[in-house]
């Protein structure tokens, strides 16, 4: 796993659809382009939702890891 300069760590554990992508979309205006945030989620739907969301909003999912039920998604602001 590459080391990223994380601007923020966002704990979305326990949140269910549609909240993870709703919250990340509300977070984006607070970031500057190129910043990477770390999202922690337990929602399995996020595995496909985040890339889909990133594609339509011009952002990027740079990496996704999974460990004991917690999915970590690194989102880069476009």
């Amino acid at each position: 796993m590459a080391a990223y300069q994380i601007a923020k760590s966002l704990d979305y554990k326990g949140l269910k659809c549609p909240m993870p992508i709703v919250k990340i979309s509300q977070e984006m205006p607070r970031l500057t382009a190129g910043e990477v945030v770390e999202v922690l989620t337990t929602d399995p739907g996020s595995l496909s939702d985040f890339p889909a969301w990133a594609k339509t909003t011009g952002n990027q999912v740079v990496e996704t890891t999974q460990e004991s039920g917690v999915i970590t998604i690194y989102v880069k602001k476009g």
Partner: protein, 195 residues
């Protein structure tokens, strides 16, 4: 044509080629200028059932999260979900009062479309949702308001059922409209849904 100097064959071909190029450029400009479908979702909420309203709100908030403009048109049975149970308005005739009594008084009184089981099924569904931390209809509606999702209520439905705007919930920019409002909106949207 009289008065014109006749072109020799070579010049004529060049002339035609320039005409074609000019027309092509004009066409390209016209195509680029044409308004394409906006990144927009137009949704009709016709049904009055809890499960369908949940799906509608999840899709609407999801779409707004993806950067889409969203407009929801509440009509017919869906109108009842916008009633505020704490508000009472007078001036209704007997039929309108009957409708008011028979239809759910707001989103918390909506029933599942299946397995309602005289209330047991709906209650069970709500309890499971709460345990699993799924946002409720009320929570999602508040988020929808924050995200700028527009809600328009069908004027005709309100008139038929005797609902007044004064008994509806407080929602940012809540307005009333007719079918043309929906169709104009839907016509320029990239996604149109009927729930």
């Amino acid at each position: 044509m009289p008065g014109q100097v006749p072109l020799d064959p070579g010049e004529k071909e060049i002339g035609m080629a320039l005409d074609v190029e000019r027309e092509l450029a004009a066409l390209k400009d016209a195509v680029a200028a044409r308004p394409g479908p906006k990144k927009k979702l137009s949704m009709v909420v016709f049904s009055g059932e809890l499960d369908k309203h949940l799906a509608a709100m999840i899709i609407a908030t999801g779409a707004a999260a993806m950067g889409m403009e969203v407009c929801m048109f509440f009509t017919f049975w869906g109108t009842a979900a916008l009633r505020d149970p704490s508000k009472r308005v007078g001036g209704k005739n007997i039929v309108e009062r009957m409708f008011g009594a028979m239809l759910p008084r707001g989103r918390d009184r909506l029933e599942l479309s299946r397995l309602h089981m005289a209330g047991a099924g709906t209650a069970m569904m709500k309890s499971v949702m709460k345990k699993k931390n799924v946002a409720s209809l009320g929570e999602m509606t508040e988020i929808a308001g924050q995200m700028g999702i527009k809600i328009v209520i069908c004027e005709m439905s309100m008139d038929l059922m005797g609902f007044k705007l004064g008994e509806m919930v407080d929602y940012p920019g809540l307005s009333v409209g007719g079918v043309a409002t929906f169709l104009a909106d839907a016509g320029e949207s990239s996604i149109q849904l009927f729930i």
